[in-house]
Symmetry: C2
Subunit: 522 residues, 2 copies
């Protein structure tokens, strides 16, 4: 079924540069097929096709664009067990997780199809002329248009929902932007299956061929060439801080710099306020580890830092968390590289003179199995060494013993930007919570009360984003319907004859799209 | 009346580093007062005060924020003739222009006051919980919050409307961001008068002192220190491409990069389609020169490039334009530096082997008087030398003689990003216009039909922006009510107790702010 080929504008393409998929559970190559690595010429061809597709794709009726997104969802579902099996084999993730992620991926595509039809993302505004005014007031009409071809980098930890047909691709296609995906080398077979689904959906719904391409490769140059290509007008990326910052530099150094939405790094502080800690510290300890250990800890929103005021209540939390963590079996991580980075991260934390190792989970019994770990540090020492705050991608977290609420709040105020912060807060903690909220609003994209940061709901009010270095651009979200805004920009038409205006800007064509007409919202 | 002092968080502050204002009409220093240049410590103090003001300012009731903006407008108007006289003396612009600009400045402030009250900029979204769903669906509530302290660079060519209390300042304050202005050295007295007005408005409406500061200086280090300051979270700039790109590099190189909205450079192509050219080429020639010569050509939207199909009709247009331009008196330019750059720009254009000098305006009779100039070039030669497309800031324009519509459209498609494009288009030209529009949408922020690019209406549907290098960030506008969006980012609250939620996110608090509740728009 797999052919190991690239997808350039609807055509499969071979390459002499080959690489193998890896099974992280065995540590061995998956031998059934090898995969084509893209050359810079392949990247250029994909970008040229995306540019050629921009005008026809972006001007299709919105209904047709929505049907394309829905057809992708249907084609992905039609891949059936083959997709689940391949994704599990390439990632070490269990079938239930991949099945759930497939549902989320299809749901995202349908959410963006509905968003395309909704039409409010066009943000239509009309200011009618007033020729009698001195000076005469012109007629002005504004709408959002797509930026142009978008480069998307698949993430290793969501082989479906944040990879080839994931949130970045869905939101860019919804905005009217052709997409060139740089597939993640960790799941090339999964990527090929999904790329085939997109390609079939594009053909069956009459899309221009260049609306989608997939380039793979193990060399950094594939991704670098993609971001540097003058036809690419925006970038979506989910991955490491080093990877994101490298792409940010390329995007900024282009003769014409472009927006880059890189979702990079976070430790997602969980703050347990005193009354909540006293009332339910033991239960919180167990629930915390359940969130921490989910998916081998390989979530952007994994709770890597817990802050609370020191004392017997915190001891009880740590005891409960430690007990839960000690019982955690080692889990196969996504790749050998991620497992190695996890081991190094834990070793660096453990080597800090300020850090106490609380406990570890069960030892691994096979390759690439990450052993859970819990550490603690005093609040006054947390900021002494940056290593205490580096994201350790996997089941590892640091409990911060703060002297009092003042120290806790001051410490939180000095954290770098984060995707999330979580408050465990009882009614009697609300005054302390009210002090924390303004600090957290400056620091994170999403604030959770009495829950856990893992689990990112795909809806209209979700923000998966946050100040640097959580993301490269805090003005947006990469999950949820608002993600479409990332790939749009405004254009204004002044005194334009009706015949030349885009139809949505003509008088009377703004039904149910929330237009702002002469300052008033319809 | 003028003291030549800085304004740091409501306090005037002196400095031993002094500079003089200049009267461009005489070329001499204005001797009544010298002005303080800020040290890096002054910049740091202003930024620290802005950071301290952020929490109290951003959480004020919106009504109070709106009243502050209105009070600034009233205080500026109360400066009366003293402001107009000083601005005219420092810029060489005539009183009618400065009086009009004062009205525009006050109008902008009031527009943003109304926008603050309108409240839709908060983009409230609520997705209610569904505990019965598997997995349970959380309650999510989203709003936009201000980014933090904003640095604004005053522009030389709009000493009121794009300087200390101009569009960038008004939109940042409206968003809830304290502002530190780097005043332009070309109008320090004007800047001081306006800073005094803002400071009085802040005091009378009970704003935190750090909500506004003004730092001046002739050294580049003042602005560089401002953009590099870790407390600054966004930058608004209007000026040269070299200046904007220097600030972009600083913003990108910070440990935590920040958004920068730099409005830099454009030649604003005017495209005269064949039927319009045949029907009214002579009238268009005269009207074109009126737009070109307005304000000594010192507008971001000045029409620096005219494209049309070559032939007798274009000859007639050029004849009419040449006649009008020959009669243009030389006008005093804003600064000696701008006049020198204008002379150099014309000389470089004239030195190109591809360029023909059509005519010049009257010679200057005093210092810093710019002599109007009109050039022409063949369409096939336009892209041969980048100098043909460099913005020459002043009364200078290049007419491009295209062989046919295909060459014209291909040429337009290769232009860099622009603030505006203008079509002169008759009904019979609509098919050609329809071919051009998709090309122009990719290239510019505003497309004008049968008018001229100068004159930027302050309204809801205006886009003053465009692809690079017109601006550093095409996703926004610096004029009009949508400019507030530049200084906002989304935050989501998950399962937050009502007592801790920002009031606007509680159930039932979304009257008339266009909230999106469970996917439906209220």
């Amino acid at each position: 079924m797999l052919k190991g080929e690239l997808f350039i504008a609807g055509e499969r393409r071979a390459s002499s540069d080959r690489f193998q998929g890896q099974d992280p559970a065995t540590g061995a190559a998956i031998e059934d097929v090898s995969f084509a690595g893209a050359s810079e010429a392949d990247v250029a061809d994909a970008c040229a096709a995306a540019e050629a597709a921009f005008a026809p794709y972006s001007t299709l009726p919105l209904e047709q664009r929505a049907q394309f997104l829905e057809a992708i969802a249907t084609e992905i579902e039609a891949l059936g067990d083959a997709l689940v099996e391949r994704a599990c084999r390439e990632t070490g993730l269990p079938p239930a997780r991949i099945t759930g992620e497939r549902g989320r991926t299809a749901g995202q595509l349908r959410l963006f199809a509905a968003e395309v039809r909704d039409g409010r993302w066009q943000r239509v505004r009309i200011d009618h002329a007033d020729p009698a005014r001195i000076p005469p007031k012109p007629d002005l009409r504004l709408r959002m248009i797509p930026l142009g071809p978008v480069a998307v980098f698949g993430a290793s930890n969501f082989p479906l929902a944040f990879s080839v047909a994931g949130g970045d691709t869905a939101s860019a296609l919804a905005a009217g932007c052709p997409v060139v995906v740089k597939g993640h080398r960790a799941h090339p077979g999964t990527a090929e299956l999904v790329a085939g689904a997109i390609t079939r959906a594009a053909a069956s719904t009459g899309m221009p061929a260049g609306v989608f391409s997939l380039v793979n490769g193990t060399s950094r140059r594939v991704g670098e060439a993609l971001v540097a290509d003058p036809r690419i007008q925006a970038v979506g990326f989910t991955g490491s801080r080093a990877g994101g910052e490298a792409l940010m530099r390329i995007a900024a150094a282009r003769p014409r710099p472009i927006p880059i939405y890189a979702e990079m790094s976070a430790v997602n502080p969980v703050i347990i306020l005193p009354h909540a800690l006293a009332a339910r510290g033991t239960a919180l300890g167990a629930a915390f580890v359940a969130s921490l250990a989910m998916g081998a800890g390989q979530f952007c929103t994994n709770p890597g830092l817990v802050l609370a005021v020191d004392g017997p209540d915190l001891d009880a939390f740590i005891d409960a968390a430690g007990t839960a963590l000690t019982g955690q079996p080692a889990q196969t991580m996504l790749t050998q590289g991620i497992w190695e980075a996890f081991e190094q991260g834990k070793a660096k934390l453990g080597a800090s003179a300020h850090v106490t190792a609380v406990t570890q989970g069960a030892e691994g019994t096979g390759p690439n199995q990450g052993r859970a770990a819990l550490f603690s540090v005093k609040g006054s020492d947390l900021l002494a060494d940056p290593v205490h705050l580096h994201e350790v991608f996997g089941v590892s977290s640091v409990v911060v013993r703060c002297a009092d609420m003042d120290e806790l709040i001051a410490t939180v105020g000095q954290l770098e930007g984060q995707l999330t912060a979580t408050l465990q807060v009882d009614a009697a903690d609300h005054p302390a919570g009210a002090r924390l909220l303004p600090v957290l609003e400056r620091t994170v994209g999403r604030i959770i009360a009495n829950g856990w940061p893992t689990g990112v709901e795909v809806g209209h009010a979700m923000v998966h984003g946050g100040p640097y270095p959580a993301t490269s651009d805090s003005r947006s979200t990469s999950v949820g319907s608002m993600a479409i805004d990332r790939f749009l920009r405004p254009v204004s038409y002044q005194d334009m004859p009706a015949e030349l205006l885009p139809p949505v800007l003509n008088d009377g064509a703004q039904d149910n799209i929330g237009a702002r007409i002469d300052g008033r919202w319809a």
